[in-house]
Symmetry: C2
């Protein structure tokens, strides 16, 4: 279809975001089997667990899949070694400087994609030799950029600044939004939130259920002093807001956050005290659907919207 499908050897330019606590081999293989690109989210995995997950994923699909390595966590070199040993060809890096690992990864022969939220880092990516860029807007769940630039404004600016193919992320809640991203200059989409609300995601059932209940005011970019992250509004989020209004220091916020909040929320299902990372698209999700069905539905909507736009 285009440079993105060609790059990864996939049928549809629909990429499932590698997300901590939510995207293990079940989700990644389901998306890859449906013709998209599944990503194992290694951010919440030990190197050993990552190896097991890759092996299970390979058993579950003969299609290409990849691994996301968020650079803000530890033991990245160990993880990269495992990716090499296990024959992974596609790596998405995120939450860090693309200059740090791209040359090493390219030297080892990986197809490398890096996630950015501004034009400056998109240029850095291209200079560092990435094969594609994920441009992620303010509406995306989880860790997010400081500039708060939305997908609608980010994609055309990055499209103008670099030559490499772009994957739009943030706010992609349907095939219509995918087509909108293509109108803006993307050649693929990376989707997180929709894939959290699937039977195959490893998110806790209570978290999945909560996603179905929120409306268009259900999330907010939070914890900006520590590093912006989009959260589902819950008791923990309100505690953060209260501290911030009182003029809390980054240290006080870090103390409230503590260790293991994301695991507590997303994996263990503590909806009050846990950290629940999800995108604005959550407001559009009404039911859990199998991941493969979502891929098919997005492509159908994409084609329908394309036909509709021809008539206006």
């Amino acid at each position: 279809m285009n440079r993105i499908t060609h790059l990864f050897g996939i049928r549809y330019p629909v990429i499932q975001a590698g997300m901590i606590w939510c995207s293990g081999w079940e989700l990644a293989s389901a998306v890859s089997n449906a013709g998209g690109l599944g990503l194992i989210g290694s951010g919440s995995m030990s190197p050993d667990l990552l190896r097991t997950q890759i092996r299970k994923c390979r058993q579950a699909t003969r299609k290409p899949f990849g691994v996301n390595v968020p650079l803000l966590y530890e033991r990245n070199e160990e993880k990269i070694e495992i990716l090499e040993e296990e024959g992974i060809r596609i790596v998405f890096t995120s939450a860090g400087n693309p200059v740090k690992y791209t040359p090493l990864l390219k030297k080892k022969g990986f197809t490398v994609v890096h996630v950015v939220a501004n034009v400056k880092f998109a240029r850095k990516c291209q200079e560092a030799g990435v094969d594609a860029i994920v441009a992620e807007g303010f509406e995306a769940g989880g860790h997010n950029g400081r500039e708060e630039t939305t997908t609608m404004v980010l994609i055309p600016q990055i499209r103008e600044a670099v030559e490499v193919p772009l994957i739009a992320a943030g706010g992609i809640g349907s095939g219509k939004a995918m087509l909108a991203a293509f109108a803006l200059g993307a050649e693929g989409v990376q989707i997180g939130s929709l894939f959290v609300a699937t039977p195959e995601s490893s998110a806790h059932p209570a978290f999945k259920q909560k996603i179905l209940e929120v409306d268009d005011s259900g999330t907010m970019l939070s914890l900006k002093q520590l590093g912006p992250v989009r959260l589902l509004k819950n008791k923990f989020y309100e505690q953060v807001c209260r501290l911030e209004l009182e003029g809390a220091s980054p240290e006080e916020l870090a103390r409230l956050l503590g260790k293991g909040r994301a695991r507590q929320g997303m994996l263990e299902g503590d909806l009050n005290e846990g950290e629940l990372e999800i995108g604005q698209v959550a407001g559009m999700i009404r039911e859990l659907k199998p991941a493969g069905e979502i891929v098919g539905e997005i492509m159908r909507e994409f084609r329908e919207a394309q036909k509709f736009l021809e008539t206006i």
Copy 2:
């Protein structure tokens, strides 16, 4: 072309946002003469000045134009009387509850459009009897919604919730973005930032020049405790940030804001102490262009992008 062009009797579904200090008769008539819909922004005008502006606009164009009435300012009833006396047919209300004036305006025979930033208010608009809705995303300049929902996520949700035609606002920086908005379900676009950077806008030349200089990190949603407003980052914006980080109360922020900051910045050109309202699209603006040229360019890009999408 569609319900929006039909509703207003215009050629292109491109609406110029009514903006305080920036959109008087010169800008509105230039946009209307080019086939879009120009709006006089009455928020910064006394009733008398509004009357003069309407008369000058009528001299400058025989095409339809309208007036924006932001409900957060005073003397709205007086302004509505003037609109009636001066034969205005199209009113855009914003920054307030659509239930307050829509029934009165409809009774007087106006075509009424209200600006919203969430699904709840879109439903209220439809119940109140508006003819169309402007759905304005987080990326928009000036006053903004508390939910921080972006255009990419807002448009499809409002499209699903109501039947009336939708005009997308926030992040519309080119014909590509206009087509993206149409893919999401809009039938028109409202554009602010691009039209500030025109010879016809009444913004101070220094403010226009400043817009050309900012990049994709140039604006931020600010003053959230008083009422969110997207500002170009300058010394005043930094003062606000500092106070907020210290845990300032709404009263302290209101004291810093004081009276007349927006006039000081946008009309008088005080780039340090003034309030400079502009959207994220500012990062895409490289030169001043006549308003009519912008309308033509957007429609050309829209048609080109439409042709491109047919091929993918």
